[in-house]
C-alpha cells in the first residue's frame, strides 16, 4: 500500500474515495473488495433525518490503524484502508469507507469485513441520531 494514504483516518468533511482505492492498486492483486456505510433513513424502527458522529480522535486513529494492520496480517491481504467521517451527516451521506486488495477474493472480502466489524466494535466513535419526531439520542450499543 502507498505510503501517501494512512491505513486509517478520521475525516471531518466529505472525502473522495478514488485516491483511497488507487493507493491499493497492486499488480499482484486479483481482487478488491470495498464497503461503504451510508446514513439510512431509519434505525430500529425510527425515522432518522440525520446524525452526528463524534470521535476521540487520537485513540480512534491508533486503534483504527491497529485494526487494519491486524486484518491484513490475519487474512493475507496486500493492502487495506479505512476512513470514517465525523461531524454532521445527512441521509445518503458516506459515513465510512473500507477497501482491501488481495491476490484472491476470499482474502479481499474477509479483510474488508473484519475491518468494518472491528471498527464498529472497537474504535471510539459515537453516533448521535436525530429523529424525524424531533427527539435525538446517543447510541451506546450493548456489547
Amino acid at each position: 500500500m502507498s505510503g501517501h494514504v494512512p491505513a486509517f483516518a478520521i475525516a471531518n468533511t466529505e472525502f473522495d474515495v478514488a485516491p483511497l482505492r488507487a493507493a491499493l492498486i497492486d499488480d499482484r492483486a486479483g481482487a478488491f473488495a470495498s464497503f461503504e456505510g451510508w446514513i439510512r433513513d431509519h434505525n430500529d424502527g425510527r425515522a432518522v433525518d440525520g446524525l452526528r458522529y463524534e470521535a476521540y480522535r487520537a485513540l480512534a486513529e491508533t486503534e483504527g490503524a491497529r485494526i487494519v494492520a491486524e486484518a491484513i496480517a490475519r487474512h493475507g491481504a496486500l493492502g487495506a484502508c479505512c476512513v470514517h467521517r465525523i461531524g454532521e451527516l445527512a441521509i445518503g451521506d458516506l459515513a465510512v469507507w473500507v477497501g482491501a486488495s488481495a491476490a484472491h477474493r476470499d482474502a479481499a472480502f474477509a479483510t474488508c469485513r473484519t475491518i468494518i466489524d472491528e471498527v464498529k466494535a472497537r474504535v471510539p466513535i459515537w453516533k448521535h441520531e436525530h429523529y424525524v419526531d424531533g427527539d435525538a439520542s446517543w447510541l451506546h450499543l450493548e456489547p
Partner: protein
C-alpha cells in the same frame, strides 16, 4: 497527589456539561476516578460498560493515575 485531565465523550459529555475537567486523582485507581465522576455528574453507565484510556491508548481500570496524564472514559462505541 496526581492531577489528571478527564475527557468526556457523547452521553458522558452531555451529562457532565463539559468535554474535559482537571481533577485531583486522590489515591485510588482509574476505576475510582470514574466512580467519583459518575457520582458527581450522574452518569448512567456503570464502569463495566466502559473502557478507559490514558494519553491516547487503552489502559486498565486498575492502573494508577499518572500526574499530568489525560484519562478518557470510553462509553460503548457506535461508529460505522
Amino acid at each position: 497527589m496526581a492531577t489528571v485531565t478527564l475527557l468526556y465523550f457523547a452521553s458522558l459529555r452531555d451529562a457532565a456539561g463539559v468535554g474535559e475537567e482537571r481533577v485531583d486523582a486522590g489515591d485510588g485507581d482509574l476505576r475510582a476516578l470514574y466512580v467519583e465522576a459518575r457520582a458527581r455528574h450522574g452518569f448512567v453507565l456503570p464502569p463495566e460498560r466502559l473502557r478507559v484510556a490514558v494519553d491516547g491508548d487503552f489502559a486498565l481500570w486498575g492502573d494508577a493515575p499518572r500526574d499530568g496524564s489525560e484519562v478518557a472514559f470510553i462509553p460503548p462505541v457506535s461508529g460505522g
